[in-house]
């Protein structure tokens, strides 16, 4: 299992890191909050922590922590356009139920 990026997501992450001028990859994690219990975190990583778990897709590194992984194991991060809006989307097989906007979920 683990975490992965779609080709489009990997391309965009790589582009954003290049524009930003620094960063070793992207962090996918969860925290407890939001209307359905859990919420996603998506951040740049400047320096991986020793206890981080790392994955790689299309040459882009994905980091997470051991606590988050059970909730997002198997997730593929995709990059999508919806009308004028564009951004990343978590395709998480563990989700049973999510709030209307998809920002928080429970498993």
């Amino acid at each position: 299992m683990g975490l992965s990026l779609s080709e489009s997501a990997a391309k965009h992450v790589a582009k954003y890191i290049a524009k930003r001028g620094r960063g070793v990859g992207v962090r996918l994690a969860v925290r407890t909050s939001g209307c359905s219990g859990m919420a996603y975190k998506l951040e740049f990583v400047d320096e991986a922590a020793a206890e981080d778990l790392a994955f790689e897709s299309f040459g882009v590194k994905i980091f997470t922590d051991a606590k988050s992984l059970p909730y997002i194991d198997g997730t593929e991060l995709d990059f999508v356009k919806e009308g004028l809006n564009e951004g990343f989307k978590f395709n998480n097989p563990n989700v049973k139920d999510e709030c209307g906007c998809g920002e928080s979920f429970n498993t």
């Binding site: 965009h12 962090r27 919420a39 009308g83 004028l84 809006n85 951004g87 906007c101 928080s104």
Partner: protein, 620 residues
């Protein structure tokens, strides 16, 4: 379904707490909206992929309002109800318009700001701008998938308070929360990363569609100070189109053209101008209303030749700005190019030649202002890490207090960045003085009477001491919102008094500008007044001290000596009542001279008095 953007490490927002912020370049000809997505600034496009929104609003009789390209299409058939370049009217009254005959509009004079008559009613420039802003806000919310926390809107550096306030009002009317108004040249500098890269002086050369602005910015530790601005409000890319149009009319042997043909040829002229940025030659082909076909080849060389005077025309405002800022070319660290017209190779070359260096051109000159505004908005919305700082504001006028003789002592000089705190020590003026009145003033002039009074308070409970012995520390503190707090503390006893004042309250930017101008015009006059006031203060304090000494130790002088001192005292008093600073100084020196022996005897007497009754061992 919300889409995610990548946040800075540790900055991921709580669900439903996205701090969406945009930067808006509200231009005379075109407007843009930009945001920072996953760490990079991007201009937001509409459904067709267009990023520029023409700053044009059309009002129809049925109350329908159209904005942008759709409104632009109505311009020729319905010019009176199609408002273009409304930015020129922001914060302006009818009497401020240089030439209202040059526009098709019917103006209505309203208190404060003019209005434009349309079929949908009288529209103020604020309402028209609000319609443009509303359109951009909608585009931003559609693109970002949520409600905006706020926007940074750019304004020309020379915009006065009325124009800035009008811009802010337009944003409020459009339902936008203004995080900050940012000067356009500053935004351009931010987009080029100059805010965290460098210190020094930068020129922003902004040649837009219809206006030319040049600004000189000084950057010190993240603070942008506008040193000077200059420009030409009737010079821009459109004039280059006009020259091509004239060249076509001349070379194709055309006579009087109708509106339709004129517009057609102007459009072709603009296309030709744009083509010549990347090509050595272009063709202008058009079929006129009467069936006549125009077909001409225009080379880049000819184009540059016929427009050379226009390019040259931009140089003299640059010179003026340099002169106003009292700067030499060698002090310029970089030149930033803004505005679509700076794409023309010969414009770039002229600027490079003038400054002897290549200007910064790697960002799209149409977008650079919006991008910088977006970066600033992102920082203000709190989406950046702690190591990133914001641009700082400066106080527009010096803050200080009144000292004896009605003089201003500046505690915080103008252009200091806020937040800031400065302290200065003052002392008592009279023997046994137990209270001190503190008068807080704002302005650049030397005399309190010419500055603006902000607040007064008193420090009481100073222990009685001889004049000049008490040490009173006055601290001025200005917080990030420009709020001033002044406190005074007597150092030996710790007695304290303080007051909070709001320095900018009620002081409009044009008032600030007037006060600054006054201070420069009156600089020499002020210096004279200051010298006189200082001489008087010194004289008065010497008179008071001499009188006190005569009263307490008069017996140390014989009658003749006493008469001499009193004569000198009277002469100084007479001089002090006059307006000649040199005479006051001369008489002050004379009295000092006349009392020097007296002072020495008093000192001896005091030492003797002090020693009386003390054992030698105690003096050790």
């Amino acid at each position: 379904m919300a889409l995610f953007q990548i946040a800075e490490p540790g900055q991921a927002a709580e669900p439903h707490q996205h701090r969406l912020a945009v930067g808006i370049d509200l231009g005379t000809t075109n407007s843009l909206v930009a945001t920072v997505r996953s760490g990079s600034a991007t201009v937001l496009a509409d459904e067709t992929g267009a990023t520029l929104l023409p700053s044009v609003v059309h009002y129809a009789a049925d109350g329908q309002t159209t904005v942008g390209y759709a409104a632009q299409l109505r311009q020729s058939e319905d010019p009176r109800n199609t408002i273009v370049s409304v930015k020129r009217f922001m914060g302006r009254g009818v009497k401020d318009l240089p030439d209202s005959a040059a526009t098709p509009y019917r103006f209505v004079d309203a208190p404060g700001m003019l209005k434009i008559k349309t079929v949908a009613g009288d529209k103020s420039p604020v309402e028209v701008s609000a319609d443009v802003l509303r359109h951009l806000k909608q585009r931003a919310e559609d693109s970002l998938g949520g409600e905006l926390l706020g926007a940074v809107i750019t304004v020309p550096a020379y915009f006065d308070d009325a124009q800035r306030q009008a811009t802010k009002d337009a944003a409020t009317l459009a339902g936008l929360n203004v995080l900050r108004l940012l000067n356009e040249p500053t935004a351009a500098a931010v987009a080029y990363g100059l805010d965290n890269a460098a210190e020094g002086i930068y020129i922003v050369y902004d040649l837009g569609g219809g206006t030319f602005d040049v600004s000189i910015l000084k950057l010190t530790r993240g603070v942008f100070e506008v040193l000077s601005t200059s420009g030409d409000s009737a010079l821009g890319g459109d004039d280059f189109d006009q020259r091509i149009y004239c060249w076509v009319v001349e070379n194709a042997g055309l006579s009087l053209l109708g509106d339709h043909d004129t517009r057609l040829l102007l459009t072709h002229a603009r296309e030709a101008k744009e083509a010549l940025t990347d090509h050595a030659e272009t063709r202008i082909t058009a079929k006129l209303a009467d069936g006549e076909v125009v077909d001409l080849a225009l080379s880049a060389e000819v184009f540059q030749q016929i427009t050379a005077p226009l390019v040259q025309k931009t140089i003299s405002p640059v010179r003026k700005a340099l002169r106003d800022a009292k700067l030499d070319m060698s002090e310029i660290k970089g030149v930033v190019m803004v505005g679509g017209a700076t794409r023309m190779p010969h414009v770039r070359r002229a600027v490079a030649d003038f400054f002897g260096r290549e200007p910064l051109t790697n960002l799209d000159p149409d977008k650079v202002v919006a991008l910088g505004a977006a970066m600033q908005a992102n920082a203000l919305a709190g989406n950046k890490g702690d190591d990133e700082w914001l641009l700082l504001d400066v106080i527009p006028l010096s803050l200080g207090l009144e000292t004896m003789g009605g003089l201003t002592e500046k505690v915080i000089p103008r252009n200091s960045t806020i937040p800031t705190a400065r302290a200065q020590d003052f002392t008592t003026y009279k023997d046994g003085q137990t209270a001190m009145a503190i008068h807080v003033v704002q302005g650049e002039r030397e005399l309190v009477a010419d500055c603006r009074s902000l607040a007064r308070f008193e420090l009481r409970g100073i222990p009685p001491m001889v004049a000049g012995a008490a040490r009173i520390r006055v601290t001025f503190q200005v917080d990030a919102d420009g709020l001033l707090a002044v406190s005074a503390r007597e150092q030996s006893t710790g007695v304290e008094a303080s007051i909070a004042v709001k320095p900018s309250y009620g002081l409009a930017d044009d008032e600030i500008a007037r006060m600054l101008q006054d201070s420069m015009q009156h600089a020499s006059e002020d210096m004279l007044a200051r010298t006189l006031a200082e001489a008087r203060v010194e004289a008065e304090s010497l008179i008071a001290a001499t009188r006190a000494a005569l009263a307490s130790d008069g017996q140390l002088l014989d009658a003749e000596e006493r008469a001499e001192v009193e004569a000198a005292l009277a002469r100084l008093q007479a001089a002090s009542a006059g307006d000649a600073a040199t005479e006051i100084r001369a008489q002050t020196d004379a009295l000092n001279q006349a009392t020097s022996e007296f002072a020495a005897r008093r000192m001896d007497a005091a030492v003797k008095r002090g020693l009386a009754g003390q054992k030698l061992s105690e003096l050790g």
